[in-house]
């Protein structure tokens, strides 16, 4: 835990406490992502899983990409082993998230186990958007818990009543997810290096999409960050932000 006495004096009038804002963001991410559970539940039962199997995947596996991969293989007539392998392959990125999050989250006890289970795209992304430890923790838990609640709730709805529920694409939820990721990325694009890395990663993800199973292009793109990080240090793409108060204006100087 860090800093921030309640009612920080420098707070401009009309601004909302960042932690509250992040919690609200976590709720909206949870709701939007959770609604996708309807299509997971519906697809799961139509590809041959029973309701219980679908719910074990949502409650225990709990990582959308892997779950869709699993039922995709089964639905396409693949073996149970193939389905498990596909889901494990896609789950590799959750290991990367743990690496990024390890410092900010509690290690032991029930919370230690909860943080492991709630480690997914959305919770890692919202945590990464925080500018200090308190914001990172709030982001992780808000997105993680709300996605878990809504994802399981709507998986059940989809599995039980899938054929009666409309396609979430008709509601634009796929576009909402893309916009959410962009909004989370936006504040990090402060330096030319950061923009270059994001663009390169997007490019690699798209180029590899036709040749790799869904989900793996994102991993291939992660190599961009690894390579950029291994390059001799000139300056980091983002100055270290630990313990600094969030500044209301974006940095303007670009130290070249």
């Amino acid at each position: 835990m860090t800093t921030a006495s309640p009612g920080t004096p420098q707070e401009a009038p009309g601004t909302v406490d960042p932690v509250r804002r992040i919690r609200r963001t976590g709720f909206s991410i949870g709701l939007a992502t959770g609604l996708y559970g309807i299509s997971f539940g519906a697809l799961a039962t139509s590809s041959g899983l029973d309701v219980w199997q679908a719910m074990v995947l949502s409650a225990v596996m709990f990582t959308g990409g892997s779950q869709f991969a699993f039922i995709g293989v089964i639905g396409g007539g693949g073996s149970a082993l193939g389905a498990a392998l596909a889901s494990v392959l896609l789950g590799v990125r959750n290991t990367l998230y743990g690496l990024i999050l390890a410092r900010s989250l509690p290690r032991h006890g029930v919370k230690g186990l909860a943080r492991v289970q709630l480690t997914i795209d959305e919770s890692a992304a919202l945590a990464a958007s925080g500018s200090d430890e308190r914001e990172r923790q709030a982001g992780f838990w808000a997105a993680g818990v709300w996605v878990y609640v809504f994802w399981n709730l709507f998986s059940l709805v989809g599995a039980v009543a899938g054929q009666f529920v409309a396609d979430p694409r008709a509601w634009g939820l796929d576009a909402a997810a893309a916009a959410a990721f962009l909004a989370l990325l936006w504040p990090r694009l402060r330096s030319a290096d950061a923009v270059a890395i994001a663009v390169a990663a997007a490019f690699i993800a798209l180029v590899t999409t036709p040749s790799l199973p869904p989900g793996l292009p994102v991993l291939a793109a992660a190599l961009v960050a690894v390579l950029a990080g291994l390059l001799p240090a000139r300056r980091s793409a983002e100055p270290p932000r630990r313990e600094t108060p969030p500044d209301p204006r974006p940095r303007t100087e670009d130290r070249r």
């Binding site: 743990g98 694409r169 576009a175 990325l185 999409t209």
Partner: protein, 104 residues
């Protein structure tokens, strides 16, 4: 127990194990400058890739549809410093609207 059940349970437990594994890196490893730099840059690359695939990938195909218009709306709103929720809702409305009209 059917093979399918075995696969469901095994893959679910493995998924938890993968998540757990990331947290086991010792802190002094994370403090090394190169590793620290990589963990700073990783979210940028992962988010960039997620934006791209969520916008233009459909399975193993690149599909340009209503999502592209929606993400442009989102980008404009972000430039105008709109709040998160407005950005996300506007993107959903844009995509849903275009699809309802049959334009994309």
């Amino acid at each position: 127990m059917s093979m399918l059940w075995v696969a469901v349970i095994a893959a679910s437990v493995l998924s938890f194990g993968q998540k757990w594994l990331g947290y086991q890196a010792p802190p002094d490893v994370l403090d090394r400058p190169r590793i620290a730099r990589i963990t700073t840059l990783l979210p940028i690359a992962l988010l960039g890739a997620l934006v791209a695939t969520q916008t233009a990938a459909s399975g193993a195909e690149i599909v340009l549809d209503a999502r592209l218009a929606a993400i442009s709306v989102a980008a404009v709103l972000l430039l105008a410093r709109a709040p998160f929720l407005m950005v996300v809702i506007a993107a959903a409305v844009a995509a849903a609207g275009l699809r309802a009209l049959g334009w994309a």
